[in-house]
C-alpha cells in the first residue's frame, strides 16, 4: 500500500490564469504530495478544470510556476510532461480498438511490441477489461469506456494522473462503484492522483485531501473530515454537505467562550479569534441540530416545525425561525417526529458550532436589521 511520502510531487506557485480581463485562477499556491489523492472541488467556473489543464499543459499559465518533480514545466508541451490525463468525455480514439487505444502512449515512446503487449494486458486486467481488446469505443458502455480511458493513461506509468470529472457521465450506482475502484487503484499503484469534481460527496469519499476552490481562489485545503467539520469559510461550509448558516454578531468574549446574537435569538459557543461586535456566520450541520420543548441553557433560539421530508435513511425536519429563515435538522428515519406547527427551542452541542468570519458586504444588510428586534441571551 502506498503512503503519502510528504515529498511534493506537483507544486503550483503563485499561479494566475486569465482569459482577457477574466481572471479564472488567482494566485494559486498548492502542493500535491507524492502518492496523494488530491481532489479539487468547486462549482463549475471555479477554475478547478483550468488548473488541471495547466498542470497537464493544455493551458498556459498567465503567471507563476508549475513544478513537477522539482522541475518547472510551464514551458513544456503536454507530450513532454510526465503526467497523463483521464478526460471527462473519455476522449478515446474512435478509429482504434481498445488495445490500440491503450497502446497509443507506448507506441509513441517506441516501446518494443512484446513489452507493449504485456503492459496493455496487465492494464486490461487491472481495469477488468480483459477480453475486450478488439472492441471499438462505439461498442462500449460509458463505464467500459471510462475503464479503458483510465488504462490508457495508467499504462504510461505517469508520476501524476490527472482526472477531469471522469465519472460525471456515469449513472449514480456505477459512479459509486467506480469511486471505490479508483480509490483502490490509487492505493494499489501509489500514483499521485489529482482529481477534479464538483461532487462534494465524491470528494469526501475518495480523497486524502480536498482543495476547495471558488471564483478562482483556493478557499481551503485539508483532509475530508477537517473540511467537513471545520470549514474555514462560509462557502466551504455551504458547499460541502448541508449546513445551517446563521448570521450573527459577537455579543461578548470571555476566553474561548463567545456569546453570539442572531436576528431572532442568541447562543453561547466555543471559539477563539473573534472580537466583540464582530459580524460572524454560525454554521451547524443538520445532523448536529437538536430541538426540545423546553429552553436549553446557553441557547435562545425558537422556531416552528414547518415540515418533514423523508429522504430514505434519514428524515429532515424543517424548522422556521421567526424571521423566516429555515433550519434543517436531520434525524435517522424512525426517530419520533415533532408535530407540525409546534414551537420548539433549537440547540446543539457547543463543540459542533463553526464560527466563521464574514466579509464586509454581507455584514452591511445585517447591521441595518439588528436594531429592529430586541434580542437578549
Amino acid at each position: 500500500m502506498a503512503q503519502v511520502s510528504g515529498k511534493a510531487m506537483v507544486e503550483l506557485i503563485n499561479v494566475d490564469k486569465s482569459y482577457g480581463d477574466n481572471k479564472v485562477v488567482k494566485n494559486l499556491n498548492l502542493q500535491i504530495q507524492e502518492g496523494e489523492f488530491l481532489t479539487m472541488l468547486g462549482p463549475s467556473g471555479c477554475g478547478k478544470t483550468t488548473t488541471l489543464r495547466m498542470i497537464a499543459g493544455f493551458e498556459d499559465v498567465t503567471a507563476g510556476e508549475i513544478v513537477i518533480e522539482g522541475e518547472n514545466v510551464v514551458n513544456k508541451p503536454p507530450y513532454q510532461r510526465n503526467v497523463n490525463t483521464v478526460f471527462q468525455n473519455y476522449a478515446l480514439f474512435p478509429h482504434m480498438n481498445v488495445y490500440d487505444n491503450i497502446a497509443f502512449g507506448l507506441t509513441e515512446k517506441k516501446v518494443n511490441k512484446e513489452e507493449i503487449r504485456q503492459r496493455v494486458g496487465e492494464m486490461l486486467l487491472l481495469v477488468q477489461m480483459n477480453g475486450y481488446e478488439k472492441r471499438m469505443p462505439s461498442q462500449m458502455s460509458g463505464g467500459q469506456k471510462q475503464r479503458v480511458a483510465i488504462a490508457r493513461a495508467l499504462v504510461n506509468r505517469p508520476k501524476v494522473l490527472l482526472l477531469d470529472e471522469p465519472l460525471g457521465a456515469l449513472d449514480l450506482k456505477l459512479r459509486k462503484q467506480m469511486q471505490v475502484e479508483l480509490k483502490h487503484l490509487q492505493r494499489q499503484l501509489g500514483i499521485t492522483f489529482v482529481y477534479v469534481t464538483h461532487d462534494q460527496e465524491e470528494s469526501l469519499t475518495m480523497s486524502d485531501r480536498i482543495a476547495v476552490m471558488h471564483n478562482g481562489l483556493l478557499e481551503q485545503i485539508g483532509p475530508p473530515d477537517k473540511i467537513y467539520n471545520q470549514p474555514a469559510t462560509k462557502f466551504v461550509a455551504d458547499f460541502i454537505g448541508e449546513s445551517n448558516i446563521l448570521e450573527a454578531s459577537v455579543g461578548s468574549v470571555a476566553g474561548d467562550k463567545l456569546t453570539v446574537i442572531f436576528e431572532t435569538g442568541g447562543a453561547e459557543v466555543n471559539a477563539t479569534g473573534f472580537k466583540q461586535d464582530e459580524m460572524v456566520y454560525i454554521s451547524v450541520r443538520p445532523e448536529k441540530l437538536k430541538c426540545s420543548a423546553e429552553s436549553v441553557p446557553g441557547f435562545n433560539l425558537r422556531g416552528t416545525v414547518k415540515e418533514h421530508i423523508y429522504v430514505g435513511s434519514i428524515s429532515k425536519t424543517i424548522i422556521e425561525l421567526p424571521n423566516g429563515q429555515d433550519l434543517k435538522m436531520s434525524l435517522l428515519t424512525g426517530t419520533p417526529l415533532l408535530p407540525q406547527g409546534e414551537t420548539v427551542w433549537v440547540y446543539w452541542e457547543k463543540a459542533d458550532t463553526v464560527v466563521l468570519h464574514t466579509q464586509e458586504e454581507t455584514l452591511y444588510n445585517f447591521i441595518e436589521q439588528v436594531p429592529k428586534i430586541g434580542v437578549s441571551v
Binding site: 499543459g57 507530450y79 497523463n84 480514439f93 474512435p94 502512449g105
Partner: protein, 304 residues
C-alpha cells in the same frame, strides 16, 4: 380523425402492414406532397437515363439518328486503343487534379475549421463566392490570364523573366489549372466538415499520451478525416472526367477528355448510340467509386 390516430396508423402501416389500404384522407395529401417530385424525377432523370441506356445498344443511322437494333458494338468500340488512350489521359488528369486539390485543400480546410467563428464565415464565403458567377465565364477569365499575350506572359516579360511568351493556354497544364480552380470548393467543403467534426479533445489526448503535433496529426486527425478526404476526392475526380467545357476552352483541340469525347459523339459525330455507351460507362464508373467511398467509411451524405 384525430392527429394521434393518424400518427399511429402511419407508424403501424410502415412497420407491419404495408399492404393495408391507406384511407383517402391520408393518401390525397401524400400524393400532393410527394407526387410532383416523383413526377419530376421520372420525367427528367429516370426517363432520359433509360433512353440513354436503351440507345447505347442500338446502331447509328447513316445520316445521324438511331437505328433500332440490339448489339454490344458500341461497348466493344470503347476498347479501341484510340478511346482507351482518351480514358487513360482523362484518368491521369483527373487523378492529378484531385491530388492537387487535396494537397491545397486540406491545409485550407484545416485553417477554416480551426478559425474563430467570425473568420470561419469569412473564409467559407470566400470559398463559396465564385459559385455566384457562371463557371463558363470564370473559365474564360483564365484564357485572358493564360493566353500568349495575356496577363501572366505580360507580367513575366515586363519582369524580364522570359524573352518569348510561354505557351500556357491550350496545354494539359492549363486544363488542370482550370479544373483545380473550378473544383477546389468541392474538395474543401467535405474536408472542412469532417475536420470540424473532429473533437479537439482527441488531439489533447494524443498530446497527453506523448504525441507531438505532427504525430497527433498523423495518428488521429488524418485517419479520422479519411471520410472527408474520400468524399472530396470523389467530388473532384468525377466532374473532372465530365467537365468538357474546361478542356475545350483551356485545352483547345489538344486535350480530349472523356467528357469531350461524349460531347463530340452527340453533337459533332452525331453518333448517339456510341455517346450513350460512353455515358453509361462513366455512370457505372461513378457508381463504383461511390461504393468504394462508402466501403471506406465515407457516407453518401458527405458527397451530396
Amino acid at each position: 380523425m384525430t392527429s394521434t390516430t393518424t400518427a399511429t396508423t402511419v407508424l403501424s402501416s410502415k412497420a407491419s402492414t404495408p399492404k393495408k389500404q391507406m384511407p383517402l384522407t391520408q393518401f390525397v395529401p401524400l400524393l400532393l406532397m410527394v407526387g410532383p417530385v416523383v413526377l419530376w424525377l421520372l420525367i427528367f432523370v429516370a426517363a432520359p437515363l433509360m433512353y440513354i441506356f436503351v440507345i447505347s445498344f442500338m446502331k447509328k443511322g447513316i445520316y445521324g439518328g438511331v437505328v433500332i437494333s440490339f448489339n454490344f458494338q458500341n461497348y466493344l468500340r470503347i476498347f479501341d486503343p484510340l478511346y482507351l488512350r482518351i480514358f487513360l489521359v482523362s484518368i491521369i488528369i483527373a487523378t492529378a487534379t484531385t491530388l492537387l486539390c487535396l494537397i491545397l485543400g486540406y491545409p485550407f480546410a484545416y485553417i477554416i475549421a480551426r478559425a474563430s467563428d467570425r473568420n470561419k464565415n469569412i473564409l467559407l464565403s470566400l470559398i463559396m463566392l465564385p459559385f455566384w458567377t457562371n463557371s463558363l465565364i470564370r473559365t474564360y477569365g483564365w484564357i485572358i490570364l493564360l493566353r500568349t499575350n495575356g496577363t501572366f506572359n505580360t507580367l513575366l516579360a515586363s519582369a524580364n523573366l522570359i524573352s518569348h511568351p510561354l505557351q500556357m493556354l491550350y496545354t494539359n497544364g492549363a486544363v488542370m489549372v482550370g479544373m483545380v480552380y473550378t473544383l477546389f470548393p468541392f474538395m474543401v467543403l467535405p474536408l472542412y466538415s469532417s475536420i470540424e467534426k473532429l473533437d479537439h479533445c482527441l488531439l489533447e489526448a494524443a498530446n497527453d499520451l506523448g504525441a507531438n503535433q505532427r504525430r497527433a496529426f498523423l495518428r488521429v486527425t488524418l485517419p479520422l478525416t479519411v471520410p472527408g478526404i474520400f468524399a472530396g476526392c470523389i467530388q473532384v475526380f468525377i466532374p473532372t472526367l465530365g467537365y468538357f467545357f474546361i478542356s475545350d476552352l483551356l485545352g483547345g483541340g489538344n486535350s480530349i477528355l472523356v467528357g469531350n469525347l461524349i460531347r463530340n459523339q452527340f453533337l459533332a459525330a452525331r453518333d448517339w448510340p456510341f455517346g450513350a455507351a460512353l455515358s453509361i460507362l462513366l455512370i457505372v464508373f461513378t457508381i463504383v467509386l461511390m461504393r468504394v467511398n462508402k466501403h471506406f467509411g465515407g457516407s453518401l451524405e458527405n458527397i451530396t
